[in-house]
């Protein structure tokens, strides 16, 4: 009976803290519910020594990091944030499997001092499952401000493990936390698994526990814990039993039915009630209130965001103002356009030069010029110069040009998240998003898409179900990003004589794009299984708080690096390929695009575009090159028509207003740009899905452009 050894696994000291290269290594897992400040704690502890990966076979990020403390190396794994270990969601399965199968030396459970009632539930489940645990009570400072005092020693005695108060944000209590972790790892602090008294349920659990010893597949789980979980109807454990010991599965189900009949209530409810009763008893003895928190500001904000009339407008206004500020910093929109309209075009140019993208572009083109002149002075062949300056530097530039924008968008996203406003926006917009069968949470990544589609796709990770993540990622590229706003502005002003017509066309294109996004969402919801799934909203509304610059900074840095690491190589290779298409032809290196492979492709594609009124090789070529970054559509049009400005290029093409409008629509909707595609592929890693992603956007763009072309020709006003 090897089982017995584990059954009384009160402590298994020393053995697990291994010696490696003369230094002790301790493996620590960090668990905690969402909004307890677990990620902040992780970042404070490991600083720059952290690595991002994926949990095997999942789209959920796995953060690991290291820190050294008096010659001991602690390796931290940040488990996904979950409210429980019931294995109902992917995150819960990951967190539980890691603890059960990897058996870390210590599990640190982070709870929130401000909302102990809800965040202790996970801690309790970890304590019931595992013996080597340290509880970190975070946000002690915020709790103190609200007049809450947590009696840590008393709580520690009640739980049987060290309980440490910390403030991750202020870096308080970290030393003590690490000391406690090391004490538990070395066996110096004796800890034990928590056994709750499940009352009437305990009898059935004990009966089942005896049987479970016969199933070797359950070896990793504490038998008494597994027995209670099976009575609750734990689907992961049932899966294990169904595979390994089907006869026990039947026994477990019988036991559950008997318990339910004889106790007159569902075992799952009884077990949860027992845990909550334990928590409320624990908190009654360990938490002291002195004075009431000031809630006036919070109440006022919630009154606005959660009201029937003001909620949605307030949410949309908040989002839009954030997006416009991001636009203004990055490209100067709308200030540049306003200055131009007022006739101060010199001032407008100055402003544009000092925006984020203006500075990045200036730096990149300066670098390309210097490299080109240095190389040509040394007599390097034009092919090589072009390869270096346009291909390689262009590729690096394509990545760098995206970074500031992505960083910026995540700074603002992080700001909304950290203040607690984001949760309110999700709630306020839920009714609207439900119409296209997405939850309110999906509005946020999609709104990010107005800035850049890359963070939009990365942002879909916050969505609850796999299906919703996928649907939102598919739809995100249809949201006109800022690069497309630049093209649309240029096309609209060049193609339409009056400012009013240009503005109308611009607004029309945005509306068409949003409509297309809505249609695609509805279609996808019918195609992607599970078809009957209706998004159910469940959002915790954390108390509002003053944003912490450090938290937002980490959030943005993490995400920007993530993008660089995952999508960087793909973007670089694809932009090299596009360079080859534009600069190489049947006769080798070519100076003018008319001899390139791209021209051949453009001419081949052009007839396909004829039905939507765009059957010109120049346009086809521009669209092909727009794949690198949508901005290149304009540049290529200018080169291909041998013009000097966008206006000249377009007048040479002599497009009718309806053709112009169709070009704007098609350029907006067709094909996600390279960076977006790379991000999508990096996120899902299923080539067929990436192809479907491209195909869907092409088909949709074509269909909608066709409708636009036909309708706009039928209406004489346009």
């Amino acid at each position: 009976m090897t089982r017995l050894a584990r059954e009384h696994a009160g402590t298994q000291p020393q053995s697990r803290a291994r010696e490696e290269g003369g230094r002790r290594r301790v493996r620590v897992a960090l668990a905690g519910a969402p909004n307890v400040g677990k990620s902040t704690l992780f970042n404070v502890l490991v600083g720059a020594r952290r690595f991002v990966g994926n949990w095997p076979g999942k789209t959920i990020d796995r953060y690991e990091g290291e820190l050294e403390h008096h010659g001991v190396v602690l390796r931290l794994v940040d488990l996904p944030g979950t409210y429980s270990l019931s294995a109902l969601s992917e995150e819960e399965v990951i967190a539980r499997d890691f603890i059960v199968h990897e058996k870390p030396d210590v599990v640190v459970v982070v709870v929130n001092a401000v909302s102990l009632e809800t965040t202790m539930y996970l801690a309790l489940q970890v304590l019931e499952l595992y013996d080597r645990v340290v509880v970190a009570v975070n946000k002690m400072d915020a709790a103190a401000r609200r007049g809450l005092h947590v009696l840590l020693d008393r709580m520690s005695r009640a739980l049987g493990v060290p309980v440490v108060g910390v403030s991750a944000l202020r870096g308080e209590g970290l030393h003590e936390l690490i000391e406690s972790v090391l004490a538990v790892a070395s066996g110096a602090a004796r800890t034990q698994r928590l056994r709750l008294n499940y009352g009437g349920l305990a009898h059935y659990a004990a009966l089942l526990e005896g049987e479970l010893g016969r199933c070797a597949a359950l070896r990793d789980y504490p038998p008494d814990w597994a027995a209670v979980r099976l009575l609750e109807g734990d689907s992961e454990l049932e899966k294990v039993l169904a595979e390994a010991c089907p006869e026990l599965l039947e026994k477990a189900r019988q036991a559950r039915r008997r318990a339910e009949e004889e106790l007159g209530a569902e075992p799952a409810l009884l077990a949860a009630s027992t845990r909550y009763a334990f928590i409320s008893e624990l908190l009654r003895s360990c938490v002291v209130y002195s004075g009431v928190a000031r809630k006036s500001t919070s109440e006022l904000l919630d009154k606005i965001y959660l009201s029937r009339l003001l909620g949605l407008p307030a949410a949309l206004t908040t989002l839009m103002s954030v997006v416009v500020v991001a636009f203004a910093i990055n490209t100067g929109f709308p200030f540049v356009q306003i200055l131009e309209a007022l006739g101060h075009s010199d001032l407008a140019e100055l402003v544009e030069a000092y925006t984020l993208s203006g500075l990045v572009n200036a730096a990149l083109s300066g670098l390309a010029d210097i490299t080109a002149s240095t190389l040509s002075a040394r007599g390097v062949s034009p092919l090589l110069i072009s390869l270096v300056t346009e291909g390689i530097l262009g590729g690096v530039g394509a990545i760098l040009a995206f970074l500031p924008l992505i960083f910026l968008v995540f700074i603002f996203f992080g700001f909304l998240e950290d203040t607690g406003v984001m949760a309110r926006i999700a709630v306020a917009s839920h009714a609207l998003m439900e119409k296209v069968r997405l939850s309110g949470k999906a509005l946020l990544p999609l709104a990010l898409g107005l800035g850049c589609n890359v963070p939009a796709i990365m942002g879909t990770k916050i969505l609850p179900s796999d299906k919703e993540k996928l649907v939102a990622s598919f739809v995100a590229p249809l949201i006109p990003c800022q690069a497309r706003l630049v093209i649309l502005l240029a096309l609209a002003t060049a193609l339409f004589s009056s400012a009013a017509a240009a503005l109308t066309a611009l607004i029309l294109v945005y509306l068409v794009a949003l409509l297309a996004a809505g249609i695609l969402t509805l279609i996808l919801n019918r195609v992607i299984p599970p078809k009957e799934e209706v998004p159910e909203l469940l959002v915790e509304l954390p108390p509002y708080h003053v944003p912490s610059i450090r938290v937002i900074w980490w959030y943005a840095v993490d995400n920007a690096l993530h993008f660089l690491k995952k999508a960087g190589v793909i973007i670089f290779l694809l932009s090299l390929a596009t360079w080859a298409l534009l600069r190489l032809g049947p006769s080798g290196y070519v100076e003018s695009v008319e001899n390139s492979f791209a021209y051949i492709v453009g001419s081949a594609v052009a007839p396909l575009l004829a039905p939507i009124g765009l059957g010109r090789w120049e346009i086809a070529l521009a669209l092909v090159s727009g794949f690198i970054a949508k901005e290149s559509v304009l540049a290529t049009l200018i080169i291909a028509t041998s013009s000097t400005s966008a206006a000249e290029a377009l007048s040479r093409l002599a497009l009718s207003p309806s053709q112009a409008l169709t070009l704007m629509v098609f350029a907006t909707l067709y094909m996600p740009c390279l960076a977006t595609l790379a991000t999508f592929h990096a996120q899902y890693r299923r080539p067929k899905l990436t192809l479907a992603f491209v195909a869907a956007s092409l088909v949709l763009a074509y269909a909608i452009s066709l409708v636009t072309y036909i309708v706009s020709r039928a209406i004489p006003v346009v």
């Binding site: 009632e117 009630s273 959660l306 159910e536 909203l537 469940l538 959002v539």
Partner: protein, 47 residues
């Protein structure tokens, strides 16, 4: 259930206009969709 809404728990409805219902359980607030809210059986404890 994991969020603190267990049989016998006292919750306060913060907002119940259009869209999701906002409830307060303990000191934490949650917004829950109407479908889910319908599945919670309550009895009025105090106005």
């Amino acid at each position: 259930m994991e969020l603190g809404v267990v049989p016998g728990a006292v919750v306060r409805v913060v907002s119940n206009s259009a869209g999701p219902v906002v409830i307060e359980a303990g000191s934490a607030r949650f917004a829950i969709g109407r479908g889910l809210a319908r599945k919670i059986v309550v009895e009025v404890v105090e106005q």
